[in-house]
């Protein structure tokens, strides 16, 4: 998975609790993304980062916040988890010198989050 790890890989939590998901890359790619994948919707962008401390909202950002204090780490926080945030979350990176299309995104293995 192109030097991308996500932690935790699985998490079960209760409604109202805060949750933080971590994405770590060893590829020194500039851009990092958080997506959620749900049946009937496919991959939807939550937030993305175009550099350290530079982030912006995607199409489904309500209820989520992000932070990027280092090139290699991008954190996704659910401030107060709800059942509608039960999903599979994928981190992706782009902007390296991999030799393929410059717009290519490389995905992590995913985190399965269940909010009861």
């Amino acid at each position: 998975d192109a030097g991308i790890t996500q932690s935790p890989r699985h998490k079960v939590t209760e409604t109202g609790t805060p949750v933080t998901l971590r994405c770590h890359q060893t590829e020194n790619h500039r851009y990092m993304y958080w997506y959620r994948q749900d049946p009937g919707h496919g991959l939807r962008l939550i937030h993305y980062s175009y550099g350290v401390k530079d982030t912006d909202k995607g199409e489904v950002s309500d209820g989520y916040s992000v932070s990027r204090s280092k090139t290699e780490d991008f954190l996704l926080t659910l401030e107060s988890a709800t059942s509608s945030q039960t999903s599979v979350y994928f981190c992706a990176i782009s902007g390296g010198l991999a030799g393929g299309p410059v717009s290519e995104q490389f995905f992590g293995p995913g985190t399965r989050l269940t909010v009861l």
Binding site: D1, I4, R30, Y31, P39, G40, H41, G42, L43, R44, L45, Y48, Y50, G58, F90, A92, S94, G95, G96, G100, P101, V102, S103, E104, Q105, F106, F107, G108, P109, G110
Partner: protein
């Protein structure tokens, strides 16, 4: 109305069949088109990449783009059980390293031995 429409399937075919996967889109600004393959419980990986209209072939895979109809296809010849996966189309208006991709829902394909 979604910007990219893709039939989610599931699609089940016998080994050796020719598979056709398709996406339609509404945003005429899309210029760069991709197909990602996602195995069960894994992240998506880029399979094919094309620019504008035309065909691109890579082994058993052919990607086709028809911008006039806003329609893209992925053909798999001599399909194998190892092709069983979800195939997602993706597209973007610009080819830059921070391009935001718009994905289709994905089509789940099973190739039966």
């Amino acid at each position: 109305q979604k910007e990219v429409e893709q039939d989610p399937g599931p699609l089940s075919v016998p080994e050796g069949a020719i598979v056709s996967l398709n996406c339609t889109y509404s945003n005429s600004a899309f210029q760069y088109f991709m197909w990602y393959r996602q195995y069960s419980r894994k992240g998506p990986e880029l399979l094919m990449y094309t620019y504008s209209s035309g065909n691109k072939e890579d082994g058993r895979f052919t990607a086709q783009v028809d911008k006039s109809s806003k329609y893209i296809s992925l053909f798999i010849r001599d399909s194998q059980p190892s092709d069983s996966a979800t195939y997602l189309c993706a597209m973007t208006p610009e080819e830059t390293s921070g391009s935001r991709l718009t994905f289709g829902e994905g089509t789940q394909l099973t190739v039966n031995p």
